[in-house]
Subunit: 343 residues, 4 copies
């Protein structure tokens, strides 16, 4: 019997538990695989800190946010006593034949190195930001977009009641997918993403155009968006005459800039961690379950060194190399097609 260890790594993401459940249910039923879970991400793998994972342990997990295995942001080579040699020893001691690592770009990168160093490891891609090129969508993204969209729906009624401009800051440090999709879904009048520069003049022009049509501007901004000249946004002179860094994110910086330039009362909201937790959408549960089931097929086929991915409606297999080759950012044309209707 093959014994497989599963770990979850990186930031929390709705659907992690559904992946674990899908893998354990199919692996045990179809391939007779046996499963353990490493606790706390790579730390559990390095230290051999495990729990058994059988059918009863993954019961009811498809709609549970978070991960029953815990997670952390430290990599397998950064952990004390980390590295491939030690990990192989741990695996041998535990009788674990191979590892399934569920995580984002950092996890894929570490998995690639471990695989090259001889560890049998396979991957499931996970990023709430949807910025992995190897897969059409990552689980967790749809939930984050849904939560952000519901927030926009709520903020718009308040914007309209008060004739205010509302600014919502959503996740997306390097890729603006959450902002783009929630902004489209919520009918935002401006969407600002890290990939595409917009000047404060343009943003204000959109807001004014909306106000002039008798409506209340709704601006969605990804946390990684920067203004071309951010000196205004980044710093401010204190009463003592010293420049000091403005605290807070881009949303909190944009709001007073829009207000002072347009005269439209403006309020900002930062969604933050709410986007990462809780019950996954049905879309994410299905995707996560399918990926979990597919990765045990991969492992049963001896496909170590690869990860599973969504291509169209099919689950595909891609090498860690390929998965890491490109960062999936919002293409200019996807942004431009929305941009023409802003304002």
């Amino acid at each position: 019997m093959t014994r497989i260890g599963i770990l979850t790594s990186g930031g929390d993401c709705p659907g992690l538990n559904a992946v674990i459940r899908g893998a354990v249910l199919k692996g045990s039923a179809v391939y007779g695989q046996d499963f353990v879970g490493f606790l706390g991400g790579w730390r559990g793998l390095v230290n051999g800190d495990i729990i058994p994972l059988d059918r009863s342990r993954v019961r009811g997990l498809s709609n549970q946010g978070g991960t029953i295995l815990g997670t952390s942001r430290v990599g397998p080579y950064q952990e004390p006593d980390g590295g491939a040699k030690n990990i192989q020893k741990t695996l041998d001691a535990l009788g674990v034949d191979g590892v399934i690592a569920i995580g984002g770009e950092g996890t894929a990168s570490a998995s690639k190195r471990l695989f090259e160093d001889g560890i049998k490891i396979a991957g499931v891609p996970k990023t709430i930001d949807n910025d992995l090129d190897a897969t059409d969508y990552t689980f967790g993204f749809d939930t984050a977009v849904e939560i952000a969209t519901e927030a926009i729906d709520r903020l718009r009624t308040t914007g309209n009641s008060h004739d205010r401009c509302m600014v919502l800051e959503v996740m997306g440090r390097h890729a603006g997918w959450i902002a783009l999709h929630s902004g489209i879904a919520g009918g935002a009048h401006a969407i600002l993403i890290p990939e595409q520069p917009e000047s404060i003049d343009q943003i204000c022009a959109w807001a004014v155009s909306v106000r002039d049509r008798g409506r209340s501007p709704m601006v969605v901004v990804a946390e990684g968006f920067t203004l071309p000249d951010m000196s205004e946004a980044h710093s401010t002179k204190g009463l003592d005459g010293f420049d000091r860094p403005r605290l807070g994110g881009i949303g909190e910086r944009l709001a007073p800039m829009i207000e002072s330039r347009t005269g439209i009362e403006t309020r900002s909201t930062v969604l933050g961690h709410i986007q990462r937790g809780g019950v996954p959408t049905a879309f994410d549960r299905v995707l996560a379950t399918r990926l979990g089931m597919a990765v045990v097929d991969l492992v049963a086929d001896g496909g170590w060194g690869k990860m599973v991915a969504l291509h169209g409606t099919d689950i595909a297999r891609v090498g860690f190399d390929e998965a890491l080759a490109n960062h999936k950012t919002v293409p200019k044309e996807r942004y431009q097609e929305m941009r023409v209707i802003f304002g």
Copy 2:
């Protein structure tokens, strides 16, 4: 200036309004197109019953269920005074250059015939059942799956509290996509779809296996599922000794069969029209908006006789012929991969 008429046809579907909004916003901003809406599906086209559609009319529609244009199930050749000739006269009288028809298989089929009869017409695919082969997903489907999944989440707690088997009947006359996806998302113990026969003995075996593990069976059944021998389900003898047809859908018929054969108390629920209405999910709003924007691109390119579709993450164009060539049912392998973990 090009003047385009939009109509929505067939059953209600979350996202119809978002398509209309996307088309009008982009068409007017980018191509200077002018829009009218035909009321009540094909009837409005045949009778020239229109409302103007400008930017202010589609304001705030992205999150509104239903269709502001109304819909019906009668085709353009079935309507009194229907047919291509009369329709062309109506279009001429209204100064409408071409038609965008948003609808399902029947609508695509009628559009194809109208196009062959000389009407400039383009299409946007719509089916809550997701059974159109030309597109990876249709808008409305994700919302239906989300609603069905939330119902499963609720029913499971009651099943567990009462040690009952719960049966949920969802939409899907010819294709089991809603049952499959909601069943996966909700962690059902049996999913029954029109495409794949299962015997009542097998269904009961799954239920007993769940009960024997101390859990409460959750069965999701598409309305179009039939038992190989449905005589038991379809009819029953009355007190007068005459056979009479059992009323109600498959869910209501299955529940007493499971209960009497397994001894597990069983209750059924029929979701019905709730799956078709109300606020669309963010996924459906994005897809619908993109399709609406893409169909005005198509029309601006003179691409009459085609419809827009989702391929992977891209919007593609397909001929009506191609769109109608195949009915997209659940492939056997998609069903089998879940079936092995039922029970």
Copy 3:
């Protein structure tokens, strides 16, 4: 140390777990009480079938639907080996000093008899129908109303798209509270409840009046509503000339009657068990938690023979007698104030 046994009885209801959690957390922290749970309602009490309930066991229960103790509809005198004598023996053998019974009218009635027969028992009222006179609201009711209201919101968009009359049947066998509140919240054009007769002519008049204003009628009907002359609704002649009972609930019977009399296409939906399960609303979680905490205060004060209840914003104590004195139905004036704006 006092040892207390908790049981949940009757139909499932969102908030049962929150009551259990509130009782255990406060009872153990403040009074040093020790808790066990009887499994499967009264059956567990009669048979001494228990699980320990400590702080770790009730962890995370506030938002969990259903009851971890299970429930059933059989009373303590109906169970084999039931009755006060046997129950007292069981309690003595388990070292349990007294019982907290969470349930509805039947449970309160049985608790009263057990208390008169010498059992130390206290109660927490539970009915999804909100028909207990002793308390302003029962937990579970708010969740049921919320679910029914969301269904109305969804059905209305479909009614409007198709110019249809939509009929929604909600719970309420003897009291129309769920229909009344969800109907108000959803803006229904007719609300039909068991307490107040309305003729089919009146119902159709409302539907026609709505249609004549260009809208689509929304009818909410409690399952216990009956037409003054139900012969039309209750039976139908078969092809063989014999009268036979119409299957299905009042919603399914009303729809064709409205359709045939008004010519308005009419569809019905039965919400069913979905109203009873799943995540409770915040209101119900707060109410349930407060009741759970209050009942251990009651027990610590030796207040056996009583139950806790909500009066305004305060938790009060009432005798089982008082709790059972009146069935809380919708008062005529509450119904009339809505009735004047129907149609």
Copy 4:
């Protein structure tokens, strides 16, 4: 025929539109009253800026957040050309007999003064914070609590996955009702409200106790909570040695204090404006509709100078004086009963 003007004043609040709808539907159907709406709060009243309000105008408003009349925070005596004399002239010119003002404490206070100055005015209480003593609950509060509770549910899964302490800041400048109720509903381990001091040592002790039981601390803090010694929270020394004010709310200040004292990684989230907008809960829709209907009864009875309120399950009438006599804060005993189970 009596002509009544309605205005909404102060911060946005889910249910405002349902009050307007309830008043217009009942007032026109039962009393033959005629309605207009003043736009932008008191400003519309001062300037005579009105829209007609008839049945068709309030159609479908029960589930719409915000207010179709707009709102502002400026009072009738602060507006240019404000004051009772001018307002009476405006009312006379418009043929408006009396005013219904929907608003919070400031609105009630201004209404009282206007009434004493001769204006026929009646009120409907509105505060999302639920801090009006005259009524058991205000509409909007339940929606805010529901939204905050859903946020807690989401944050808890992430807290558990990362072994983090999560801090959620909710609304409540002077009263901690939203924090108390959402904290109870979400199972928070510490709830911090303006009315009750807690030291940072106590807060950290609770967090450590939770961590030591293997769980992740969840802290809910009302925006108006202050630490007894807030110097640490309020200021910080910059790199230049100067003390400078810490920006951000109490949640953002508490998180690093908890983290540095306990060693538990801590993250904060500020819910902000999301609590004020969007679709109201069914509870709020029912309450708002009932208040709207009751205030036209009040007006029909000539009960100017009063407002309507919820007492238990009944709608009552209270004078503006009485309504303003006390600020409803969380009573010590309500807080203490939860406090004993914190940690």
